[in-house]
């Protein structure tokens, strides 16, 4: 039974409405970022820029912004590499070795992500302070690896559990050692899972706010989200520049997300639906 013409039109209209709800704020962000300095103050607000210009981008891309950007790239990429590597090893062991103690450990690790970061922020801050790690990349990377590990292990576990052990057994009969099996058989087979996990970790780390806000106090060490939060005060109501910086921050993650989207969504929902 195919739905009638009118009900299909209604559904299409709803879909258009949904599209507007999602895209309108984005459209406005880009539009304001292209408006010359005085235009955002026109009342009522206009959706289209009258005289589009890139001025806001040139002012937004100031030295501080470049520092924040560089810090965010260093911290995020290090976190992605370390988290995915550690999670892969851990998830592999968790799925291949059946042992009571091991499954208890796994549950404890996966549950850890559900506790609020705000509830542990003060003791962690004090630990970092006494280890002289405040205002360092190390403190942020350590915190980010720890908070992303549980999700990463959870996602990769789903992929690894579906790989038949028979492959590994066959390789072992052919004389392959554990590392050869891991790198030559397991690793290539869970590439989609690795990509999905890496994108997820990147999205989480790129926007992390609470730890960065607490661990960094110097301008040299701040990351983009914290820098953005400072801009609200510094720029006053220079919305054009604020929106231009917002676009600059969002473009890298959105680009990576679109490039790897298919694998990302498959990986994410595999974990979420299968539990």
């Amino acid at each position: 039974m195919t739905p009638s013409r009118s009900s299909r039109l209604l559904l299409l209209a709803l879909q258009l409405g949904l599209c507007l709800i999602i895209l309108l704020p984005f459209f406005w962000m880009v539009s304001v970022s292209l408006k010359p300095a005085a235009e955002p103050f026109a009342i009522p607000a206009r959706l289209w820029p009258e005289n589009p210009t890139l001025d806001n981008y040139l002012t937004a891309f100031r030295p501080e912004f470049r520092t924040y950007f560089f810090n965010s790239v260093v911290v995020s990429l290090s976190t992605v590499v370390i988290t995915v590597t550690l999670a892969l090893f851990a998830a592999y062991s968790f799925t291949r070795t059946q042992m009571r103690l091991l499954s208890i450990l796994m549950v404890l690790v996966i549950v850890a992500q559900m506790f609020p970061a705000s509830a542990i922020i003060i003791p962690i801050y004090k630990m970092m302070k006494s280890a002289n790690l405040l205002n360092t990349y190390t403190s942020l990377i350590l915190a980010y690896v720890t908070v992303t590990l549980p999700v990463a292990i959870w996602m990769l576990r789903g992929f690894l559990a579906r790989l038949p052990v028979a492959l590994e057994e066959a390789a072992a009969i052919d004389g392959a050692g554990p590392f050869k099996i891991f790198f030559l058989i397991i690793l290539p087979l869970c590439k989609p899972g690795i990509v999905a996990t890496a994108v997820f970790v990147l999205i989480v780390t790129w926007q992390e706010f609470l730890f960065a806000l607490s661990f960094t106090s110097t301008k040299e060490m701040r990351t983009l989200p914290v820098g953005m939060n400072d801009f609200i005060g510094q720029y006053g109501i220079r919305y054009g520049e604020l929106m231009a910086s917002s676009v600059l921050i969002s473009v890298p993650v959105i680009a990576i997300f679109f490039l790897l989207q298919r694998q990302f969504v498959a990986g994410l929902t595999a974990g979420a639906v299968k539990g």
């Binding site: 704020p25 304001v32 070795t97 609020p116 705000s118 003060i122 590990l149 979420a272 539990g275």
Partner: protein, 293 residues
């Protein structure tokens, strides 16, 4: 890993287990200990006070307000995100033209960094320059803009809407995947029996998605209860505490006023709440497994 390589297991899991133990569980114990001491800006040396911090917290008017706000915030965001997310999943499962593009676009708000989303919504809500007021005024609703975020009667609704916009795409994607797992034969059988779309949804689709829905509800409850960025950037918990929830209150007490003891007290309360939610999550998941088996 094969039996002969068992010895590698512990080497492989140790780094992850160690990090989580030292940087997540150990600080949780730290929070409990911290809450038994009193510090302030004037008296920076910690002094053991036992349960005095809790007495102080529970007696203060702030605490009641924060519990109330956290409940409203979590409940509203979770219900709206899941209901709206589910309806959008139904819509995107109708094989309409442009569906492929929509499925790509829908995750955009979720990918957008939280602080950027918050700044964007702050601007949307701006009394004079914001898109929302401009739209309302030109549509004829009054001639003066409302200060959504600065008015304690509208601030909570405003932060909830921003958070729902940011988070509902995730629910949509999860539900869309689950919808595609609904068995075609069951749908067909219901159709032959003469069940309309609403009855098919109620008697076939929803029962087969029960576990996914329950798990997603609990997971979003946990994430929303813990969510700090949106409220902190939009309102910092104001005006007059009207949007303060546990995470923002903890941060303000600890890093804004250096009242570490009280901040930790709020932290312990939120850990207890989360422990209850996590237990619920596992009970649901176990129930789900049994139903599948």
């Amino acid at each position: 890993m094969l039996k002969r390589d068992r010895w590698l297991t512990w080497i492989f899991v140790t780094p992850a287990v160690l990090l989580v133990a030292v940087l997540m569980y150990y600080p949780m114990i730290g929070t409990v200990i911290e809450s038994l001491y009193s510090t302030s800006f004037i008296n920076p040396t910690p002094k053991f006070v036992g349960l005095a911090v809790y007495k102080k917290i529970f007696a203060s008017a702030d605490f009641g307000q924060i519990v109330w706000n956290s409940c409203i915030w979590t409940l509203a965001v979770v219900v709206l995100q899941n209901v709206f997310g589910f309806l959008c999943a139904l819509l995107l499962n109708q094989k309409l033209p442009g569906q492929g593009l929509m499925r790509s676009l829908i995750l955009l708000p979720w990918v957008l960094p939280g602080v950027v989303a918050a700044i964007l919504w702050r601007f949307m809500y701006d009394p004079q320059l914001g898109l929302i007021n401009s739209f309302l005024i030109s549509a004829g609703f009054g001639d003066q803009g409302l200060a959504w975020l600065a008015d304690s009667s509208t601030a909570m609704a405003a932060v909830v809407i921003a958070a729902v916009w940011k988070g509902f795409p995730f629910a949509t994607i999860v539900y869309l995947a689950a919808l595609q797992n609904v068995e075609e034969e069951q749908m067909e059988a219901a159709r032959i029996d003469g069940a309309g779309p609403v009855r098919r949804l109620w008697h076939v689709v929803l029962p087969s998605m029960k576990e996914v829905i329950a798990i997603n509800f609990i997971l979003t409850t946990i994430l929303t209860f813990n969510y700090f960025d949106m409220i902190w950037v939009l309102t910092r918990g104001g005006p007059q505490n009207s949007t303060h929830i546990f995470p923002t209150k903890i941060y303000e007490l600890g890093f804004g006023q250096f009242r570490f003891g009280e901040a930790a007290g709020y932290g312990v309360v939120s850990i207890v709440v989360l422990a209850l939610l996590i237990t619920l999550y596992f009970l649901t998941q176990r129930g789900g497994r049994r139903a599948v088996a």
